[in-house]
């Protein structure tokens, strides 16, 4: 198993190199002059040039790139221009907020989409099938920021069920002691149930927004892949052997149908990471997405590049997990790997 992981990681290396190069080029192309920014508004031209030399920005691009890679290798993502803080520390403190939100959204959507897809596939042309089709098409058509706003309007403004969409916790609560960084888990670990409730209340709407957004591709893929598996020869064999409908659908069809669904999950996760940026903006969520947006608007390149790199690394890790999961489900892949 270890060698499989190693091989997979090795295959991800060229991709990561590509990511680093692209990130470097993108951030250097950002408008604005960091040297002028650091030197301050009153600085003379000479002072700006001095700062530029300090930052190494007067060197040709390849030299800058080597320096940049060197910094990366030492875990140095630079400092933010606007806050002055090291980017790495800021990302580290904000990442759990995004991760908690994204994961909850994904779990929520999987727990709705997969059963829905299965039901639709086992009864094609039925009401469930039509509902599945409408829900998924509508879900994928909703702009994620728009869903968020509608949810806020309905559940906060009209019904008053949800708290104000302002961050991870109501101002009256203070955050639990950091263990995992996930408020839901940390509050339970600390035994503070009211805190748990408060964190959950804040989390429900944004997570639901993400779930609605990611419902469609998962349900669609589940349905399509279940349909094709249910029509396959081995399912017919299972039926002809008198296995119960449950065994046929779950043990035989579903496990096979999961393979393409797992692949889709990787893509959905990528979508979610992107959608996160928008959702965090709508709900004033202090995650890495909103951090990156603020930095982008300010042409603050260190946080942007840190953010993009973090996202890419997370995505590579996720794909690794998916590949391994795939191997667990499908023996054919295991032999190949």
């Amino acid at each position: 198993m270890l060698s499989v992981i190693l091989k997979r990681l090795l295959l991800a290396v060229p991709t990561l190199i590509g990511v680093v190069v692209v990130t470097f080029l993108l951030t250097r192309a950002l408008p604005g002059d960091p040297a002028a920014y650091f030197a301050g508004p009153a600085a003379t031209k000479q002072a700006i040039e001095q700062v530029r030399a300090q930052l190494g920005l007067d060197k040709p691009l390849p030299v800058q790139f080597v320096r940049y890679v060197n910094d990366l290798a030492h875990g140095d993502l630079g400092n933010s221009l606007t806050t002055g803080q090291p980017v790495l520390a800021e990302l580290r403190s904000r990442l759990p907020a995004s991760a908690e939100l994204t994961l909850l959204g994904l779990i929520l959507s999987m727990s709705i989409a997969i059963p829905l897809g299965i039901l639709a596939a086992t009864k094609p042309g039925s009401i469930v099938d039509h509902v599945c089709r409408i829900v998924t098409t509508a879900g994928v058509s909703l702009p994620v920021f728009f869903t968020g706003l509608i949810l806020v309007y309905v559940f906060y403004y009209l019904l008053g069920w949800a708290p104000a969409p302002l961050g991870r916790l109501d101002v009256f609560f203070s955050a639990p002691r950091t263990v995992t960084g996930f408020y839901l888990i940390d509050s339970l670990l600390a035994g503070k149930f009211d805190l748990f409730r408060a964190a959950l209340a804040q989390l429900v709407l944004p997570a639901l927004t993400l779930a609605i957004f990611s419902l469609a591709p998962i349900a669609r893929m589940t349905r399509a892949s279940m349909l094709s598996v249910l029509a396959s020869d081995f399912v017919r064999t299972a039926r002809a052997s008198g296995l119960t409908r449950y065994t046929v659908v779950i043990t035989y069809a579903f496990r096979n149908a999961m393979l393409p669904v797992i692949t889709t999950l990787g893509m959905v996760f990528s979508f979610l990471l992107g959608a996160n940026v928008l959702v965090e903006k709508v709900f004033a969520w202090p995650g890495i997405g909103s951090y990156a947006v603020e930095a982008l608007i300010a042409s603050d390149f260190a946080p942007v590049q840190g953010f993009v790199l973090t996202m890419a690394v997370m995505y590579v890790i996720l794909n690794l997990i998916i590949d391994l999961l795939y191997g667990v489900v499908d023996p054919r892949v295991r032999i190949d790997a």
């Binding site: 081995f234 064999t237 039926r239 002809a240 052997s241």
Partner: protein, 565 residues
């Protein structure tokens, strides 16, 4: 017939709801089978033979339903019985084995567990014995090292082995009726024989009733007591095997029987009486030249074993893999084809016969050896370049699958015109159209079908389009890659005759690649038998087929079903 039938199908009609309205796949069918009897249901594709069996098992898909009639299984009305009752009967009272065995097994579940699922379902063993019972079943179907194979996944087993597992599944709960739906389609003859012998042995032993569904009348007659012949959803004849073979009463049965190539049949004899076209004028061959048209010497094709994986494991693995880097699909074969001669290349799947034909066609590179065509070495011309050499028009091919070999977006005329446009030297739309019509007439394709797309043509018609395309440039050599394997026997009979007539009238040479010795015998002057990349025997057809020298040839011949004469 036996007084009390185990299975009694009366007046069965099965309908399918399609977009063209209701289609009756099976109409007023009466079939009855007694305890311990074996019954063959024979018919060509679309005859409704499989649908009948699905109706019996009540596993028709959503669009299909039993519209009329009754199915009674040992006194139980299967049509009226609730689904739950029928479900418990499946696998325990009646079970089924299918064609394409590899697809019939769950690809990601160990075969042992799949057998256990069935045992558990029908409470045939308590959980402590499950594993032992499953292994015992694998022993029954003669799978060696059963304890080890219990943990195998279907993709790790050969096709024949998978079919044994499917049989084990079907017989695990000791049913009374076994329905075998074309269980040997896609298997090699020797495997086919082994599988059929196994089924016979196990069903006799257990006193099972068996229904064998097949398109192969010879196979049915060899293994069954009684035979039912179906055509277009109806039963047209039903009698004992010997009677059907001696005196078929229905015209369709006679046609089917004739069309099935057997030792002793002739090409013209495959066609129904009165339908045989006149023998064409055989063109006078120019006095035979000394040099052969095609001469292949010590031809080798090696394929690398999985590229990336090998290099990766070299990089990471503790030791390089001990197995050889390359796999030899074709291992130093030599043969000749003379002008006007037709040579059969025979062997079971994986013997390298298709690889050989692809190399001769210059569609893939050779690894070693020489390919001389009309005295010139064409083996060193890269496949990509070969299309631009004058040799291309002289070597053509007819493909195995007529559907796959036609571009779905081209009409028949466009497909036939393709070689003419590139290399025909004919200019002008009218001239090309004229030549297409001429070719269509030559292969017996009605010219009004020329403007149809492949999906609007029948299998036989598509095969004709493919043949017309291959002769469009008047080639010297045509490679026929199992040209009739995807066709029904009656269509096969017509196509084989057509090929023979074309060869005689145009004076071409054939390299006929096939797994079917009976077909090869009809069309070929000489036969080459291949096994694992090497030639085991070659010689004149009569000599190879009637006085085989190699043991392997003898095995192949023995495996062909021998119906009671």
């Amino acid at each position: 017939m036996v007084a009390v039938a185990l299975l009694d199908i009366k007046d069965l009609t099965v309908e399918f709801h399609t977009r063209r309205g209701i289609v009756k796949a099976v109409q007023h069918v009466n079939i009855s089978i007694g305890k311990g009897e074996t019954l063959g249901i024979v018919g060509e594709s679309g005859s409704g033979k499989s649908v009948t069996s699905y109706a019996v098992m009540r596993i028709l898909d959503r669009a299909g339903s039993i519209a009329e009639g009754s199915v009674t299984f040992s006194g139980i009305d299967l049509r009226a019985a609730p689904e739950e009752q029928v479900r418990t009967m499946r696998g325990r009272e009646m079970s089924m084995i299918f064609q394409s065995p590899r697809l019939a097994l769950n690809p990601i579940r160990k075969v042992g567990h799949q057998i256990e699922d069935v045992l558990k379902q029908h409470a045939q063993a308590d959980s402590a014995q499950l594993t032992n019972k499953a292994i015992e079943m694998l022993d029954h179907v003669k799978i060696a090292r059963s304890r080890e194979r219990y943990h195998a996944y279907p993709f790790e087993l050969s096709g024949g082995m998978c079919q044994r597992v499917v049989i084990a599944l079907a017989l695990a709960c000791r049913p009374q009726l076994l329905i075998a739906d074309a269980p040997t389609t896609g298997l090699d003859v020797t495997t086919q024989k082994a599988v059929m012998d196994l089924v016979t042995e196990l069903t006799r032993e257990r006193g099972l009733s068996t229904i064998l569904i097949t398109h192969d009348l010879g196979l049915a007659a060899t293994y069954c007591d009684n035979i039912v012949v179906m055509e277009k959803g109806r039963v047209i004849e039903s009698a004992t095997s010997t009677k059907i073979f001696k005196k078929p009463s229905h015209a369709y049965t006679r046609k089917l029987m004739q069309a099935t190539p057997r030792p002793g049949s002739t090409l013209r004899g495959l066609l129904p009486e009165g339908e045989a076209p006149p023998v064409p004028q055989k063109i006078q061959m120019v006095p035979r030249e000394q040099k052969p048209l095609l001469e292949v010497t010590k031809l080798v094709k090696e394929f690398p074993r999985k590229g990336l994986q090998a290099s990766l494991s070299r990089l990471l693995g503790p030791k390089p893999a001990p197995q050889p880097e390359n796999f030899r699909a074709v291992d130093g074969i030599s043969f000749k084809i003379n002008r006007g001669e037709s040579v059969g290349l025979v062997g079971e799947s994986g013997c390298g016969k298709s690889t050989t034909s692809m190399m001769v066609m210059r569609l893939i590179d050779k690894s070693e050896g020489a390919i001389m065509f009309d005295g010139e070495d064409i083996g060193d011309i890269a496949p990509r370049e070969f299309a631009h050499t004058p040799f291309r028009r002289r070597i053509q091919m007819v493909f195995q699958d007529p559907t796959d070999s036609l571009n779905p977006r081209y009409t028949a005329a466009r497909a036939i015109a393709d070689p003419l446009l590139r290399m025909g030297g004919i200019k002008g739309a009218a001239a090309i159209r004229g030549r297409c019509e001429e070719l269509a007439q030559q292969v017996g394709l009605p010219t009004d079908l020329l403007d149809r797309f492949p999906h609007q043509l029948s299998g036989g018609q598509k095969a004709r389009v493919g043949i017309a395309r291959s002769i469009a440039l008047k080639p010297d050599l045509i490679v026929l890659d199992e040209p009739t394997a995807a066709l029904d026997v009656s269509v096969q009979a017509v196509v084989l005759n057509l090929l023979q007539d074309l060869k005689d009238s145009l004076g071409m040479s054939y390299l006929f690649v096939s797994h079917d010795l009976n077909v090869v015998r009809l069309l070929c002057d000489r036969v080459i038998v291949m096994k694992t990349g090497q030639i085991v025997e070659q010689g004149p057809t009569e000599q190879v087929l009637f006085e085989p020298q190699a043991q392997y040839t003898r095995d192949l011949l023995a495996a062909i079903p021998h119906p009671p004469a």
